[in-house]
């Protein structure tokens, strides 16, 4: 009886842990999205400043900005890959 009880408790705890795992994955993704957001803000801010200082170099600055933003976005993508791999 006690063994059966222990198995039931373990099953309940495992189920709770699974739910907790999904919740933690979602929280982790939220945290992972903060970094790229801040990074993109820094990239855009500096690019706007550079374009204001030297309008003739706007083409080069915008090229760099686009690639920098896309690289920062890759971090957010990696975050949600982890959500689907660990939380599902």
């Amino acid at each position: 009886m006690s063994l059966m009880h222990a198995v039931i408790v373990i099953a309940e705890v495992t189920g709770e842990l699974s739910n907790l795992n999904k919740g933690l994955a979602a929280v982790g993704y939220g945290l992972a999205a903060i970094g790229p957001g801040a990074g993109i803000g820094i990239v855009v801010g500096n690019a706007v400043q550079a374009m204001a200082r030297q309008p003739e170099s706007a083409g080069m600055v915008r090229t760099t900005m686009f690639l920098g933003i896309a690289f920062a976005e890759a971090l957010a993508l990696i975050g949600f890959v982890l959500v689907f791999l660990t939380g599902s």
Binding site: A33, P36, G37, I40, G41, V44, G45, A47, V48, M51, A52, P55, A58, G59, M60, R62, T63, T64, M65, F66, L67, I69, A70, F71, E73, A74, A76, L77, I78, F80, V81, F84, L85, S88
Partner: protein
């Protein structure tokens, strides 16, 4: 800023060209590793990544054509919207029978990074003219005096 060409669209066009070249290889490799479901998932992942790049380029060049402030707003707002759309589409596709969600998300991340590094290689020499290959400079003719 109107006199500046839409460099983002040029980069996105170049990225699309690279993605179309790489897609068959990616689909075949995913199919060999994860079967038919993996191949379908990889193809859809490539389409999502490409759509993301094209949407980013369209938003940024639209914003930049108005003012730097609008460009900044479009970039940051677009980031939130595009990430939400990608997350939502992956979340919705998880329920589809023939989708291998692990192959889908891993292909998305790897394809995104690989295409960016490929594009970085393309623009490193022709920085102001993305997508164009710079030719080796011809030797300067000697000046006769």
């Amino acid at each position: 800023m109107d006199q500046v060409p839409a460099v983002e669209r040029q980069i996105a066009r170049d990225l699309a060209r690279h993605a179309l070249l790489a897609s068959p290889v990616v689909v075949v490799v995913a199919g060999l590793i994860r079967g038919a479901d993996g191949a379908w998932s990889a193809a859809i992942a490539m389409a999502i990544v490409l759509g993301n790049f094209l949407a980013a380029a369209a938003l940024q060049s639209w914003g930049a054509s108005i003012s730097p402030g609008v460009a900044g707003g479009a970039v940051l707002g677009g980031y939130i919207i595009r990430i939400a759309v990608m997350f939502g589409s992956a979340f919705a596709l998880r329920e589809v029978g023939f989708i291998d969600i692990e192959a889908l998300v891993i292909t998305m991340a790897i394809a995104h990074l690989a295409l960016l590094f490929w594009e970085l290689h393309s623009v490193r020499l022709s920085f102001a003219e993305p997508g164009l290959r710079v030719r080796r400079p011809s030797p300067v003719p000697a000046v006769k005096e």
